[in-house]
Amino acid sequence: MSMRGVPLKACLALVILTGLLTTAVTAQTATPTTPDRLAKLERDVAQAQSSGDNAWMLTSSALVLMMTGPGLALFYGGLVRKKNVLSTMMQSFALMAMVTVLWGILGYSLCFASGTRFIGGLGHVFLRGVGAAPDADYAATIPQQSYMVFQLMFAIITPALITGAFAERMKFSAMALFMILWSIIVYDPMAHMVWGKGGLLNASLGGRFPTLDFAGGTVVHITSGVSALVCALYLGKRLGYPEESILPHSVVLSFIGACLLWVGWFGFNAGSALAAGSLATSAFVATHFAAAAAVVGWVLAEWVRNGKPSALGAISGAVAGLVAITPASGFVGPMSALVIGFIAGVGCYFMVAKVKAVFGYDDSLDAFGVHGAGGTIGALLTGVFAVSAVNPVFKDSAVNPTAVGLIEGNAHQLLNQLVGVAIAWILAAVGTLIILKVVDVTVGLRVAPEHEIQGLDLSQHGEEGYNLEF
């Protein structure tokens, strides 16, 4: 071996030497164009990164839309009675259309154009200036139009979550008016405060109280969950609740919906990295682990309390875990995600099984119990478990990463999270109350009792979900 190895090594060295010399000679002859070639190389690299990031962002946008339709539409549709299945699904679908129109005209601008600390300005109305060029403050490697359409999908699902609270009793016209006003008065300011340039709570773009909310624990889940509670209280219970049995007409539909929500949530959370890099992976992993732990938590809790592990419990647990990990997903590691998910699974179970019964409100499909409670748990725990190794969001003057969450010793962050949570609760509660009052005195909120008994499919839409005729 050694006798034959020596000449082989010598040959190899000769080849490498020749190669280096050739390169040097070539480089010398190409000297005048080197800066140009470097510039071209840089452009190519940037373009390649942009292509990769943009591909992921468009995929994520589609995944998040899939969460509303069919995901949420099926999840909620299965939980109502047969006579209200279409009207419930229609509410989610109508929001896909209505919020989109509103977003193009006004919503995106109120969220993301430069403005005050509380709401964006009118710089982007009618999507003016939103094109192929990136907005480097938000996402430097993708067209601003990609960012705009990704954010639109969040603006759609957030109000759709509220519909679970007033299911089976609100007029369609009232729902439509309520949601338009809610998008402008509650969602747009909250999104601007947390994610918009100069927003009061923005963690990276100069906020007064930097609140960590990676994918919408405060903006999406607390606002929708708390508004849901206010709606349930204001509208009152469904006729016959709680004396009569009001059972889900198809847990099967809900099951399919929940599975679609779980998958779509990867776009929601990992997409919120706004790039296809390792942060997206980290958020993806945290999201999945939290959902799994929450299923375990919820099912164990009901198994102990009721003696049986239920399918509806398992899927509800998954959603609770996904809600809770939403604000934390881009800041915490997988083991923290397991803890957050488990706490949310058990916590949300007790909200819907115990707390709701004690207070007696009819949050029909548990929008508050899951999104309000899960969002609050998640937003606060983000302040506990966020670490700089996952996302070095805070830096000192020398640009070195500093402590992020409580477990790294930054107790102050928990306080900031509390401020963010409090503002989200107050804005949602007060805003929703005012809007409900306005809608109540203009078009009226509830359907007539005979229409409620007949079912909203027939009374609001003149059709039925299941026509089994021969």
Binding site: L247, E302, N306, L312, V352
Partner: protein, 112 residues
């Protein structure tokens, strides 16, 4: 002519149908029904809330037979549908005045 209505456990329906066919009952109308007699329902739990479901699923078999088949039919149903537990169902027997076959206007037992 006699009409026999038998309300039986869904799990026993196939056995009842076979037994009736063997003794020569040619036609029947079958419906999925829900109801209760002495049998108590069960509880279901959705998101921690318990609901009592007191209407339990049964199968209702209706048939109109010539009078000479009534006893045999009842015996057949009893032997195939009985488990001896509460919830096995009931049999109702009533007189039928007339039967008409729509296809060719046949009347009486010929129409069965």
């Amino acid at each position: 002519m006699t009409k026999i209505e038998a309300i039986v456990q869904p799990s026993k329906f196939e056995a009842v149908k076979e037994e009736l066919r063997e003794i020569g009952v040619d036609g029947m109308t079958v419906t999925d029904v829900r109801g209760h007699g002495r049998q108590k329902g069960h509880t279901e739990v959705y998101r921690g809330r318990e609901y009592t479901v007191d209407l339990v699923p049964k199968v209702k078999i209706e048939m109109v037979v010539p009078d000479n088949l009534v006893d045999k039919a009842v015996t057949a149903i009893l032997s195939s549908a009985k488990t001896g537990k509460i919830g096995d169902g009931k049999i109702f027997i009533s007189r039928i005045d007339e039967a008409v076959r729509i296809r060719n206007d046949e009347r009486g037992e010929a129409a069965l």
